[in-house]
Symmetry: C2
Subunit: 227 residues, 2 copies
Protein backbone atom coordinates (compact mmCIF):
# COMPACT_ATOMS: atom_id res chain seq x y z
CA UNK A 1 0.00 0.00 0.00
CA UNK A 2 2.66 2.44 1.01
CA UNK A 3 5.29 3.78 -1.35
CA UNK A 4 8.09 2.88 1.01
CA UNK A 5 8.79 -0.72 1.76
CA UNK A 6 6.82 -1.26 4.95
CA UNK A 7 8.20 -4.59 6.12
CA UNK A 8 11.76 -3.66 5.34
CA UNK A 9 12.75 -3.52 9.01
CA UNK A 10 14.72 -6.70 8.44
CA UNK A 11 15.92 -7.29 11.97
CA UNK A 12 15.37 -4.52 14.46
CA UNK A 13 17.76 -1.71 13.69
CA UNK A 14 15.76 1.50 13.14
CA UNK A 15 15.99 2.99 9.69
CA UNK A 16 17.26 6.30 11.08
CA UNK A 17 20.11 4.46 12.73
CA UNK A 18 21.01 2.58 9.55
CA UNK A 19 21.24 5.90 7.72
CA UNK A 20 23.78 7.13 10.26
CA UNK A 21 25.99 4.05 10.47
CA UNK A 22 27.94 5.07 7.35
CA UNK A 23 28.68 8.40 9.02
CA UNK A 24 30.17 6.65 12.01
CA UNK A 25 32.09 4.30 9.76
CA UNK A 26 33.63 7.23 7.93
CA UNK A 27 34.52 9.04 11.15
CA UNK A 28 36.08 5.90 12.58
CA UNK A 29 38.13 5.40 9.44
CA UNK A 30 39.46 8.92 9.79
CA UNK A 31 40.34 8.28 13.43
CA UNK A 32 42.04 5.02 12.52
CA UNK A 33 44.13 6.76 9.89
CA UNK A 34 45.21 9.20 12.58
CA UNK A 35 46.38 6.17 14.58
CA UNK A 36 43.91 6.79 17.37
CA UNK A 37 43.27 3.61 19.34
CA UNK A 38 40.22 4.45 21.40
CA UNK A 39 37.61 7.20 21.32
CA UNK A 40 34.70 8.34 23.44
CA UNK A 41 31.14 8.64 22.21
CA UNK A 42 31.46 12.39 22.56
CA UNK A 43 34.52 12.48 20.33
CA UNK A 44 33.07 10.20 17.70
CA UNK A 45 29.76 12.04 17.73
CA UNK A 46 31.47 15.36 17.15
CA UNK A 47 33.46 13.92 14.26
CA UNK A 48 30.29 12.54 12.68
CA UNK A 49 28.29 15.69 13.37
CA UNK A 50 25.63 14.14 15.59
CA UNK A 51 24.54 14.17 19.22
CA UNK A 52 26.49 11.88 21.52
CA UNK A 53 23.37 10.44 23.11
CA UNK A 54 22.05 9.62 19.67
CA UNK A 55 25.33 7.95 18.78
CA UNK A 56 25.29 5.77 21.88
CA UNK A 57 21.71 4.75 21.27
CA UNK A 58 22.50 3.93 17.67
CA UNK A 59 25.46 1.78 18.63
CA UNK A 60 23.47 0.04 21.32
CA UNK A 61 21.25 -1.37 18.59
CA UNK A 62 24.08 -3.41 17.15
CA UNK A 63 25.45 -4.67 20.41
CA UNK A 64 27.41 -3.68 23.43
CA UNK A 65 30.76 -2.84 21.99
CA UNK A 66 32.55 -0.19 23.98
CA UNK A 67 33.72 -0.16 27.58
CA UNK A 68 32.21 2.03 30.28
CA UNK A 69 34.64 4.50 31.67
CA UNK A 70 36.88 4.07 28.64
CA UNK A 71 35.11 4.41 25.33
CA UNK A 72 35.26 2.48 22.10
CA UNK A 73 38.17 0.73 20.47
CA UNK A 74 38.39 2.43 17.08
CA UNK A 75 39.45 -0.50 14.91
CA UNK A 76 37.12 -2.98 16.57
CA UNK A 77 34.08 -0.76 16.34
CA UNK A 78 34.92 0.12 12.78
CA UNK A 79 34.92 -3.52 11.83
CA UNK A 80 31.68 -4.21 13.65
CA UNK A 81 29.87 -1.40 11.87
CA UNK A 82 31.32 -2.41 8.51
CA UNK A 83 30.13 -5.94 9.13
CA UNK A 84 26.68 -4.75 10.14
CA UNK A 85 26.33 -2.62 7.03
CA UNK A 86 27.76 -5.38 4.92
CA UNK A 87 30.77 -3.65 3.41
CA UNK A 88 33.44 -6.02 4.66
CA UNK A 89 33.41 -7.42 1.16
CA UNK A 90 32.88 -5.54 -2.11
CA UNK A 91 29.52 -5.23 -3.78
CA UNK A 92 29.46 -5.35 -7.57
CA UNK A 93 27.57 -2.41 -9.07
CA UNK A 94 26.39 -1.52 -12.56
CA UNK A 95 25.83 2.04 -13.73
CA UNK A 96 23.22 2.62 -16.41
CA UNK A 97 23.26 5.87 -18.33
CA UNK A 98 26.74 7.20 -19.01
CA UNK A 99 26.06 10.88 -19.57
CA UNK A 100 27.79 13.62 -17.61
CA UNK A 101 26.59 12.34 -14.29
CA UNK A 102 27.18 8.69 -15.11
CA UNK A 103 30.76 9.44 -16.06
CA UNK A 104 31.28 11.36 -12.87
CA UNK A 105 29.90 8.44 -10.89
CA UNK A 106 32.10 5.97 -12.75
CA UNK A 107 35.14 8.05 -11.85
CA UNK A 108 34.07 8.57 -8.25
CA UNK A 109 36.79 7.13 -6.09
CA UNK A 110 34.53 6.88 -3.06
CA UNK A 111 32.83 3.85 -4.52
CA UNK A 112 35.90 1.71 -4.81
CA UNK A 113 37.23 2.69 -1.42
CA UNK A 114 34.02 2.03 0.46
CA UNK A 115 32.95 -1.46 -0.41
CA UNK A 116 31.68 -1.06 -3.95
CA UNK A 117 33.12 -2.04 -7.28
CA UNK A 118 31.77 -0.82 -10.59
CA UNK A 119 31.76 -3.86 -12.86
CA UNK A 120 30.01 -2.43 -15.90
CA UNK A 121 28.84 0.78 -17.55
CA UNK A 122 25.80 0.51 -19.76
CA UNK A 123 24.20 2.92 -22.18
CA UNK A 124 21.51 2.59 -24.81
CA UNK A 125 23.13 5.16 -27.07
CA UNK A 126 25.29 3.28 -29.58
CA UNK A 127 27.51 6.33 -30.02
CA UNK A 128 28.64 6.11 -26.42
CA UNK A 129 29.38 2.43 -26.69
CA UNK A 130 32.70 3.10 -28.35
CA UNK A 131 33.94 5.14 -25.42
CA UNK A 132 36.00 4.06 -22.46
CA UNK A 133 35.17 5.70 -19.13
CA UNK A 134 37.16 5.16 -15.97
CA UNK A 135 38.92 2.22 -17.54
CA UNK A 136 35.70 0.46 -18.49
CA UNK A 137 34.21 0.13 -21.95
CA UNK A 138 30.64 1.40 -22.23
CA UNK A 139 28.51 -1.56 -23.23
CA UNK A 140 25.11 -1.89 -24.87
CA UNK A 141 22.17 -1.85 -22.52
CA UNK A 142 20.87 -5.22 -23.71
CA UNK A 143 23.88 -6.94 -22.20
CA UNK A 144 22.50 -6.07 -18.78
CA UNK A 145 21.04 -9.46 -17.88
CA UNK A 146 24.22 -11.32 -18.78
CA UNK A 147 26.41 -8.94 -16.81
CA UNK A 148 24.19 -9.07 -13.74
CA UNK A 149 24.18 -12.86 -13.81
CA UNK A 150 27.89 -13.13 -14.44
CA UNK A 151 29.01 -10.85 -11.62
CA UNK A 152 26.16 -11.43 -9.21
CA UNK A 153 25.23 -7.76 -9.30
CA UNK A 154 22.70 -6.81 -6.63
CA UNK A 155 22.89 -3.01 -6.84
CA UNK A 156 22.18 -0.87 -9.87
CA UNK A 157 22.68 2.85 -10.36
CA UNK A 158 20.41 4.73 -12.74
CA UNK A 159 21.79 7.97 -14.16
CA UNK A 160 19.73 8.19 -17.31
CA UNK A 161 17.39 11.00 -18.31
CA UNK A 162 14.05 10.84 -16.53
CA UNK A 163 12.00 9.41 -19.42
CA UNK A 164 14.21 6.32 -19.65
CA UNK A 165 14.49 5.62 -15.95
CA UNK A 166 11.39 3.49 -15.43
CA UNK A 167 12.24 1.17 -18.30
CA UNK A 168 15.77 0.79 -16.99
CA UNK A 169 14.45 0.05 -13.52
CA UNK A 170 12.12 -2.60 -14.91
CA UNK A 171 15.00 -4.22 -16.77
CA UNK A 172 17.20 -4.15 -13.67
CA UNK A 173 14.49 -5.82 -11.62
CA UNK A 174 13.93 -8.49 -14.25
CA UNK A 175 17.65 -9.18 -14.30
CA UNK A 176 17.59 -9.81 -10.56
CA UNK A 177 18.79 -6.50 -9.14
CA UNK A 178 16.97 -5.75 -5.90
CA UNK A 179 18.54 -2.44 -4.87
CA UNK A 180 18.50 0.67 -7.02
CA UNK A 181 20.08 4.05 -6.55
CA UNK A 182 18.15 6.45 -8.75
CA UNK A 183 19.55 9.78 -9.91
CA UNK A 184 16.86 10.37 -12.52
CA UNK A 185 14.35 12.99 -11.41
CA UNK A 186 11.33 10.73 -11.50
CA UNK A 187 9.45 8.35 -9.25
CA UNK A 188 10.16 4.69 -9.90
CA UNK A 189 7.53 2.02 -9.43
CA UNK A 190 9.11 -1.27 -8.39
CA UNK A 191 7.77 -4.57 -7.03
CA UNK A 192 7.70 -5.42 -3.36
CA UNK A 193 11.11 -6.42 -2.08
CA UNK A 194 13.06 -4.03 -4.27
CA UNK A 195 14.64 -1.05 -2.54
CA UNK A 196 14.94 2.27 -4.29
CA UNK A 197 16.86 5.22 -2.93
CA UNK A 198 16.58 8.50 -4.72
CA UNK A 199 19.11 11.27 -5.09
CA UNK A 200 17.58 14.35 -6.59
CA UNK A 201 19.72 17.42 -7.06
CA UNK A 202 17.03 19.90 -7.98
CA UNK A 203 14.84 18.84 -5.07
CA UNK A 204 17.68 19.53 -2.66
CA UNK A 205 18.19 22.94 -4.19
CA UNK A 206 14.49 23.72 -3.99
CA UNK A 207 14.44 22.86 -0.31
CA UNK A 208 17.32 25.26 0.20
CA UNK A 209 15.50 27.89 -1.83
CA UNK A 210 12.45 27.60 0.38
CA UNK A 211 14.41 28.29 3.52
CA UNK A 212 16.42 30.99 1.80
CA UNK A 213 13.23 32.76 0.82
CA UNK A 214 11.98 32.61 4.38
CA UNK A 215 15.22 34.07 5.65
CA UNK A 216 14.91 37.00 3.26
CA UNK A 217 11.32 37.92 4.04
CA UNK A 218 11.02 38.74 7.75
CA UNK A 219 7.27 38.25 8.07
CA UNK A 220 5.31 39.41 5.07
CA UNK A 221 3.11 36.59 3.98
CA UNK A 222 -0.62 37.05 3.74
CA UNK A 223 -0.73 40.34 1.88
CA UNK A 224 -0.56 39.06 -1.65
CA UNK A 225 -3.14 39.04 -4.36
CA UNK A 226 -2.81 35.82 -6.22
CA UNK A 227 -5.40 35.99 -8.97
Amino acid sequence: MSDRTPAEAARDIPEATVARLPLYLRALTALAEADQVTCSSEELATAAGVNSAKLRKDLSHLGSYGTRGVGYEVEYLRYQIAREIGVTHDWPVVIVGIGNLGQALANFSGFRSRGFRVVALLDADSQRQSEVVAGLAVRPFDELAGIVAEHGVAIGVISTPAPAAQAVADALVVSGVRSILNFAPTHLAVPEGVDVRKVDLSIELQILAYHEQRKAQPDALDDEVTA
Copy 2:
Protein backbone atom coordinates in the same frame (compact mmCIF):
# COMPACT_ATOMS: atom_id res chain seq x y z
CA MET B 1 23.85 22.90 20.00
CA SER B 2 22.26 20.51 17.55
CA ASP B 3 23.77 19.70 14.19
CA ARG B 4 20.56 20.46 12.39
CA THR B 5 19.19 23.95 12.43
CA PRO B 6 16.69 23.80 15.25
CA ALA B 7 14.82 27.05 14.78
CA GLU B 8 14.61 26.68 11.04
CA ALA B 9 10.85 26.18 11.08
CA ALA B 10 10.47 29.62 9.57
CA ARG B 11 6.71 29.85 9.45
CA ASP B 12 4.73 26.75 10.14
CA ILE B 13 5.14 24.38 7.22
CA PRO B 14 6.60 21.11 8.52
CA GLU B 15 10.01 20.19 7.20
CA ALA B 16 8.77 16.88 5.85
CA THR B 17 6.16 18.73 3.83
CA VAL B 18 8.72 21.16 2.43
CA ALA B 19 10.80 18.22 1.26
CA ARG B 20 7.84 16.88 -0.71
CA LEU B 21 6.65 20.12 -2.30
CA PRO B 22 9.24 19.81 -5.12
CA LEU B 23 7.83 16.36 -5.88
CA TYR B 24 4.37 17.78 -6.29
CA LEU B 25 5.70 20.63 -8.36
CA ARG B 26 7.37 18.21 -10.73
CA ALA B 27 4.29 16.02 -11.01
CA LEU B 28 2.11 19.05 -11.68
CA THR B 29 4.48 20.27 -14.36
CA ALA B 30 4.23 16.88 -16.06
CA LEU B 31 0.44 17.04 -15.89
CA ALA B 32 0.43 20.58 -17.27
CA GLU B 33 2.59 19.51 -20.19
CA ALA B 34 0.05 16.79 -20.89
CA ASP B 35 -2.57 19.58 -21.05
CA GLN B 36 -4.47 18.27 -18.09
CA VAL B 37 -6.57 21.01 -16.52
CA THR B 38 -7.59 19.52 -13.19
CA CYS B 39 -6.46 16.56 -11.12
CA SER B 40 -7.58 14.78 -7.97
CA SER B 41 -5.40 14.29 -4.91
CA GLU B 42 -5.34 10.60 -5.69
CA GLU B 43 -4.04 11.19 -9.19
CA LEU B 44 -1.40 13.69 -8.13
CA ALA B 45 -0.32 11.52 -5.24
CA THR B 46 0.18 8.54 -7.51
CA ALA B 47 2.22 10.63 -9.92
CA ALA B 48 4.41 11.88 -7.09
CA GLY B 49 4.68 8.48 -5.45
CA VAL B 50 3.10 9.34 -2.12
CA ASN B 51 -0.06 8.64 -0.15
CA SER B 52 -3.07 10.73 -1.11
CA ALA B 53 -3.91 11.59 2.48
CA LYS B 54 -0.37 12.81 3.00
CA LEU B 55 -0.61 14.91 -0.12
CA ARG B 56 -3.83 16.56 1.01
CA LYS B 57 -2.43 17.31 4.44
CA ASP B 58 0.71 18.73 2.90
CA LEU B 59 -1.26 20.99 0.61
CA SER B 60 -3.52 22.07 3.44
CA HIS B 61 -0.49 23.66 5.08
CA LEU B 62 -0.14 26.17 2.29
CA GLY B 63 -3.78 27.03 2.00
CA SER B 64 -7.07 25.79 0.76
CA TYR B 65 -6.51 25.56 -2.93
CA GLY B 66 -8.57 22.82 -4.51
CA THR B 67 -12.32 22.33 -4.76
CA ARG B 68 -14.21 19.59 -2.95
CA GLY B 69 -15.88 17.18 -5.29
CA VAL B 70 -13.66 18.34 -8.14
CA GLY B 71 -9.95 18.38 -7.32
CA TYR B 72 -7.14 20.82 -7.99
CA GLU B 73 -6.61 23.10 -10.92
CA VAL B 74 -3.23 22.00 -12.24
CA GLU B 75 -1.82 25.33 -13.39
CA TYR B 76 -3.07 27.25 -10.38
CA LEU B 77 -1.75 24.77 -7.84
CA ARG B 78 1.56 24.56 -9.67
CA TYR B 79 2.00 28.30 -9.37
CA GLN B 80 1.06 28.33 -5.71
CA ILE B 81 3.60 25.65 -4.86
CA ALA B 82 6.29 27.33 -6.95
CA ARG B 83 5.61 30.58 -5.13
CA GLU B 84 5.73 28.87 -1.76
CA ILE B 85 9.05 27.21 -2.53
CA GLY B 86 10.33 30.42 -4.04
CA VAL B 87 11.16 29.28 -7.55
CA THR B 88 8.96 31.72 -9.43
CA HIS B 89 12.17 33.62 -10.08
CA ASP B 90 15.65 32.23 -10.68
CA TRP B 91 18.21 31.80 -7.92
CA PRO B 92 21.84 32.47 -8.81
CA VAL B 93 24.12 29.60 -7.82
CA VAL B 94 27.88 29.13 -7.71
CA ILE B 95 29.56 25.75 -8.01
CA VAL B 96 32.89 25.29 -6.28
CA GLY B 97 35.09 22.37 -7.31
CA ILE B 98 34.96 21.58 -11.00
CA GLY B 99 36.10 17.97 -11.04
CA ASN B 100 34.10 15.19 -12.61
CA LEU B 101 31.10 15.81 -10.42
CA GLY B 102 31.29 19.58 -10.65
CA GLN B 103 31.32 19.39 -14.42
CA ALA B 104 28.34 17.07 -14.40
CA LEU B 105 26.49 19.49 -12.14
CA ALA B 106 27.39 22.45 -14.33
CA ASN B 107 25.93 20.62 -17.33
CA PHE B 108 22.85 19.43 -15.47
CA SER B 109 19.87 20.85 -17.31
CA GLY B 110 17.56 20.38 -14.35
CA PHE B 111 19.07 23.37 -12.63
CA ARG B 112 18.25 25.86 -15.32
CA SER B 113 14.77 24.52 -15.90
CA ARG B 114 13.77 24.53 -12.24
CA GLY B 115 14.48 27.97 -10.90
CA PHE B 116 18.26 27.97 -10.65
CA ARG B 117 20.94 29.60 -12.73
CA VAL B 118 24.61 28.75 -12.46
CA VAL B 119 26.43 32.09 -12.56
CA ALA B 120 29.98 30.94 -11.88
CA LEU B 121 32.24 27.91 -11.66
CA LEU B 122 35.16 28.15 -9.25
CA ASP B 123 38.19 25.98 -8.70
CA ALA B 124 41.39 26.40 -6.75
CA ASP B 125 43.40 24.40 -9.28
CA SER B 126 44.98 26.87 -11.70
CA GLN B 127 45.17 24.20 -14.38
CA ARG B 128 41.39 24.00 -14.51
CA GLN B 129 41.03 27.74 -14.73
CA SER B 130 41.79 27.71 -18.44
CA GLU B 131 38.89 25.40 -19.17
CA VAL B 132 35.39 26.24 -20.24
CA VAL B 133 32.62 24.04 -18.85
CA ALA B 134 28.98 24.31 -19.87
CA GLY B 135 29.68 27.64 -21.51
CA LEU B 136 31.25 29.14 -18.40
CA ALA B 137 34.92 29.81 -17.78
CA VAL B 138 36.30 28.21 -14.65
CA ARG B 139 37.49 31.02 -12.43
CA PRO B 140 39.94 31.21 -9.54
CA PHE B 141 38.51 30.51 -6.13
CA ASP B 142 39.60 33.82 -4.70
CA GLU B 143 37.14 35.63 -6.93
CA LEU B 144 34.34 34.11 -4.86
CA ALA B 145 33.49 37.12 -2.74
CA GLY B 146 33.26 39.44 -5.73
CA ILE B 147 31.06 37.06 -7.69
CA VAL B 148 28.73 36.48 -4.77
CA ALA B 149 28.34 40.18 -4.19
CA GLU B 150 27.91 40.99 -7.88
CA HIS B 151 25.18 38.43 -8.59
CA GLY B 152 23.59 38.31 -5.15
CA VAL B 153 24.35 34.62 -4.83
CA ALA B 154 22.59 33.00 -1.89
CA ILE B 155 23.18 29.33 -2.70
CA GLY B 156 26.53 27.60 -3.09
CA VAL B 157 27.28 24.08 -4.26
CA ILE B 158 30.40 22.32 -2.98
CA SER B 159 31.76 19.52 -5.15
CA THR B 160 35.36 19.55 -4.01
CA PRO B 161 37.28 16.67 -2.44
CA ALA B 162 36.47 16.18 1.24
CA PRO B 163 39.62 17.81 2.67
CA ALA B 164 38.89 21.13 0.96
CA ALA B 165 35.18 21.27 1.74
CA GLN B 166 35.27 22.94 5.15
CA ALA B 167 37.52 25.76 3.97
CA VAL B 168 35.25 26.31 0.97
CA ALA B 169 32.21 26.37 3.22
CA ASP B 170 33.85 28.92 5.49
CA ALA B 171 34.66 31.13 2.52
CA LEU B 172 31.12 30.82 1.19
CA VAL B 173 29.71 31.85 4.55
CA VAL B 174 32.06 34.81 4.82
CA SER B 175 31.01 35.91 1.35
CA GLY B 176 27.40 35.96 2.44
CA VAL B 177 26.10 32.62 1.18
CA ARG B 178 23.58 31.20 3.61
CA SER B 179 22.55 27.98 1.88
CA ILE B 180 24.98 25.24 0.91
CA LEU B 181 24.50 22.03 -1.00
CA ASN B 182 27.39 19.79 -0.07
CA PHE B 183 28.51 16.84 -2.19
CA ALA B 184 31.80 16.35 -0.38
CA PRO B 185 31.75 13.33 1.92
CA THR B 186 32.39 15.22 5.12
CA HIS B 187 30.51 16.99 7.86
CA LEU B 188 30.46 20.77 7.54
CA ALA B 189 30.41 23.03 10.58
CA VAL B 190 28.61 26.27 9.82
CA PRO B 191 27.29 29.14 11.93
CA GLU B 192 23.70 29.43 13.07
CA GLY B 193 21.47 30.63 10.29
CA VAL B 194 23.29 28.83 7.52
CA ASP B 195 21.55 25.80 5.99
CA VAL B 196 23.53 22.85 4.76
CA ARG B 197 22.07 19.96 2.84
CA LYS B 198 24.23 16.98 2.15
CA VAL B 199 24.22 14.59 -0.77
CA ASP B 200 26.46 11.63 -0.16
CA LEU B 201 26.66 8.94 -2.80
CA SER B 202 28.54 6.32 -0.85
CA ILE B 203 26.23 6.67 2.15
CA GLU B 204 23.24 5.98 -0.06
CA LEU B 205 24.95 2.91 -1.45
CA GLN B 206 25.85 1.68 2.00
CA ILE B 207 22.25 1.97 3.12
CA LEU B 208 21.25 -0.12 0.13
CA ALA B 209 23.99 -2.62 0.94
CA TYR B 210 22.68 -3.01 4.48
CA HIS B 211 19.20 -3.93 3.29
CA GLU B 212 20.61 -6.09 0.53
CA GLN B 213 22.61 -8.05 3.06
CA ARG B 214 19.54 -8.58 5.17
CA LYS B 215 17.61 -9.84 2.18
CA ALA B 216 20.32 -12.36 1.40
CA GLN B 217 20.70 -13.80 4.91
CA PRO B 218 17.34 -15.17 6.06
CA ASP B 219 18.11 -15.19 9.76
CA ALA B 220 21.68 -16.12 10.59
CA LEU B 221 23.11 -13.46 12.77
CA ASP B 222 24.62 -14.34 16.12
CA ASP B 223 26.80 -17.26 15.14
CA GLU B 224 29.96 -15.43 14.24
CA VAL B 225 33.27 -15.29 15.95
CA THR B 226 34.66 -11.83 15.65
CA ALA B 227 37.99 -11.91 17.42
